[in-house]
């Protein structure tokens, strides 16, 4: 099928120049790391240690619990403190285990790198599971579960899309991986293809990254079943469904996943983590992040021990500028504003932005002017202004029957709204409400 561009989307200022040319720096572990037991979609991991225990770097401290779950490993050697509720970058308090770092210890508990003979689909997948790798495109889905090959009743995986778009402004993490470790990236991709018996892959990169395109094209050239494709730079090009449409022309129907079309979409950083787990025995103990924004003294791309506080990361980068107004975990379009800088960096953190008030222009909210910009920019074909009006006037039945659950909260609508209506906030409320209603309805029907 012919690849087609998705309709809608926006062109926010990219702001990548702040960190595009900054090679990765490795940040040393702070005095203490705080490890949340849930850094992934699915069930919380089950704690294996207790207060007073001594742990070594790379050791598994919590095991996967349930079919959709992932283990947690400690990035530092040191002493375990008491399990407690701790603030997190999502805004909700979570259960986390603090570990006091022992700076003098050289102990590690890494896994053995897999040998050539051990590179079978099953063993690779097992290693991914043991390493606690989760999707680093933002959702944090346990990768080992994602890489379960389809059963004989399901569609085989015919295409793997490696997402090198990084369409969120400011973030340059994936970009640096493409420039600094293209071979490892290819290796990680090939390992993933092996686990699901996939024969073909396409790596997609936005056209605003010519150096990365060049590098990846070189590395991929000898592979006959892998190609690099350039996509026009537009937000949210890197969203899963948009990528599937852009590469294959097919649209993932509402309620379904690319998996149902025989396609898997994976992030660049995830591929790197898989390579490191298989060939270096490294579990998921570091987060590769971009620290950027005009509010931070020294923007950088960092490899940070998971569990380091956001505060420690910001201090490493020279601290906040005078006019810093907002700290956001993630990208500017979908990231979460932080109120407590003690919140830890997670496996799924992709960036920490310190934004000034100039970078986030805030105006008074006015009435909706029916300009239609939100309709035009919505990549999912929704009518945000209409949905929001239904919510504001409590027409909840209509909301329940609308396609509001298709909203991916990308922020394109709110970005373009001249009336500065907080559309995403309303849509989030509506989505939660509609989801809850469906759960209640479904439960009631089951009881009957």
């Amino acid at each position: 099928m012919k690849p087609t561009n998705f309709s809608g989307g926006i062109h926010p200022p990219r702001m990548k120049e702040l960190t595009a040319d900054c090679p990765f720096e490795v940040m040393l572990a702070p005095e203490q790391v705080v490890l949340p037991l849930s850094q992934h979609l699915g069930d919380q991991a089950r704690l294996l240690i207790k207060k007073g225990d001594h742990v070594s770097r790379g050791m598994m401290i919590a095991a996967a619990a349930g079919m959709i779950s992932a283990p947690i490993h400690t990035p530092v050697s040191g002493k375990v403190l008491n399990l407690r509720r701790h603030s997190s970058s999502s805004g909700f308090p979570i259960e986390a285990i603090p570990i006091q770092t022992d700076p003098h210890s050289n102990e590690t508990s890494f896994m053995q790198p897999l040998s050539q003979a051990e590179l079978t689909p099953e063993l690779i997948r097992e290693r991914v599971a043991q390493a606690g790798i989760v999707g680093q495109g933002g959702a944090g889905f346990p990768t080992a579960v994602k890489l379960v090959p389809p059963t004989s009743h399901q569609k085989p995986i015919e295409l793997m899309i490696l997402n090198g778009c990084e369409c969120e402004p400011y973030l340059t993490r994936d970009y640096r991986f493409m420039l600094e470790r293209p071979e490892d990236l290819l290796s990680g991709l090939q390992l993933m293809m092996k686990t699901v018996h996939c024969k073909r892959a396409v790596m997609v990169i936005e056209d605003n990254k010519p150096l990365a395109i060049q590098k990846m094209r070189q590395v991929v050239a000898p592979e006959s079943n892998i190609e690099v494709r350039i996509l026009k730079s537009r937000y949210p090009q890197g969203a899963e469904k948009m990528l599937v449409q852009a590469t294959t022309g097919r649209r993932v129907p509402p309620g379904k996943l690319p998996f149902h079309l025989g396609i898997l979409v994976v992030n660049v950083a995830t591929a790197i983590s898989i390579h490191d787990a298989v060939f270096q025995g490294l579990p998921a103990i570091s987060a590769a992040i971009t620290v950027s924004g005009r509010g931070i003294r020294r923007p950088a791309n960092l490899i940070v021990p998971v569990g380091s506080s956001i505060r420690a990361v910001l201090e490493y980068c020279g601290g906040l500028n005078e006019d810093a107004a907002r700290v956001v975990a993630g990208g500017p379009m979908m990231g979460i504003a932080q109120y407590d800088l003690n919140a830890p960096v997670l496996k799924t953190t992709s960036g920490i932005l310190v934004l000034t008030s100039k970078e986030v222009p805030r105006e008074k909210e006015t009435a909706c002017l029916k300009c239609g910009h939100c309709v035009k920019s919505c990549p999912m074909g929704l009518t945000p202004t209409l949905l929001v009006r239904l919510l504001q006037t409590h027409q909840m039945e209509k909301v329940a029957h609308s396609a509001i659950s298709q909203c991916m909260e990308c922020g394109s609508c709110a970005y373009t709204c001249p009336a500065h209506i907080p559309l995403v906030q309303w849509l989030r409320f509506g989505k939660r409400w509609a989801a809850q209603k469906h759960r209640i309805t479904a439960t009631n029907e089951y009881k009957r």
């Binding site: 601290g319 379009m333 979908m334 986030v360 105006e363 009435a367 002017l369």
Partner: protein
């Protein structure tokens, strides 16, 4: 080196995503449109004299006064600085005949704001273009004054009728096209100079305030429907170019039909809206007793916009 995080957390803003925004705001949009109307206002002053500035200023002043009064009465925050009332006043003034009396101007401006906007709930809630509501009222209340045309200062036309459309309809005489492009013809203050309209309207399209589909639909519709008539009988019916350049068509297409609040929110809807206006304009101009019909066409299509919005909603992705 300073360690600003050594002390307690400073005050950080806590709002939901997205944390970036386009530079546009309601205020900025309104004032930008006012800016884009300056070429038309300048052309009006140039061709009809400095007194037109008084008409414009009176309209703007009374529109703002009416808005102030309405917001006070309705216990709403005063929002004159958003430029919305100023824009309505200016639009109304530019659609009035030159040297229009100041008292009816003031009345029209107040009607535009009260009956055109606040009676519906204020900004964003009105169905009809407020400036056109004001003008329609004046047309009904002061019919003679609203059809009395001044001769432009440098008139080169030798036609006796006051506007090119009237000349074509009642005398079957055609004006030259060049004056219609430049503006030294009879007509309303801001609508005579096609050049000034293209300048301001083109600018608004470039900055993304006017959706190009609307003027394209209006002009396209006018061309198609008047073209059909003209091809059938060029002796009686003016050419499509004449229809487009004459009267308030261009001004209506770029500045009135394109008003966000009263036009469709979907791209397919915008086409239907524009073409509908074109059709009705040609119909009124040809079959009606008036030589001009842009105002009524837009008001009639305004009434259909909620319905158009409902039936042209985009398809949900993958659905």
């Amino acid at each position: 080196m300073e360690a600003p995080l050594a002390q307690n957390n400073r005050q950080l803003e806590l709002t939901t995503s997205p944390h970036q925004h386009s530079r546009w705001s309601t205020r900025r949009v309104m004032w930008t449109v006012v800016l884009a109307l300056l070429p038309c206002a300048a052309a009006g002053l140039f061709f009809f004299g400095i007194r037109q500035a008084l008409v414009i200023l009176v309209a703007i002043a009374f529109a703002n006064g009416a808005e102030f009064g309405a917001q006070r009465l309705r216990n709403r925050p005063i929002s004159l600085n958003d430029g919305s009332a100023t824009l309505t006043g200016m639009l109304l003034a530019l659609t009035l005949p030159p040297d229009f009396s100041l008292t009816p101007t003031a009345i029209g401006a107040m009607i535009a704001i009260w009956l055109g906007k606040h009676v519906f709930g204020g900004l964003g809630h009105n169905i009809f273009n407020p400036a056109l509501v004001g003008r329609a009222f004046l047309q009904a209340a002061f019919p003679v004054a609203m059809t009395t045309w001044s001769v432009p200062r440098m008139a080169v036309d030798t036609v006796t009728s006051a506007t090119p459309l009237a000349a074509a309809k009642f005398e079957n005489v055609r004006s030259e096209l060049l004056p219609m492009l430049l503006g030294n013809i009879g007509g309303c203050i801001g609508e005579t100079s096609a050049l000034a309209i293209f300048l301001g309207g083109g600018f608004l399209i470039l900055v993304g305030i006017v959706h190009w589909r609307i003027p394209a639909g209006v002009i396209g519709g006018t061309v198609v429907f008047s073209g059909l008539l003209w091809l059938a009988n060029p002796g009686i019916y003016p050419s499509p170019v004449y229809q487009v350049l004459g009267g308030g068509l261009l001004f209506g297409a770029f500045f009135m039909a394109s008003d966000w609040v009263t036009s469709p929110i979907t791209t397919r809807g915008m086409w239907i809206f524009g073409l509908g206006i074109g059709l009705i304009v040609v119909f009124i101009r040809t079959a009606g007793s008036l030589p001009e019909g842009v105002m009524y066409s837009i008001l009639l299509m305004n009434a259909l916009v909620p319905l158009i919005n409902r039936f042209t909603r985009p398809r949900v992705f993958g659905g």
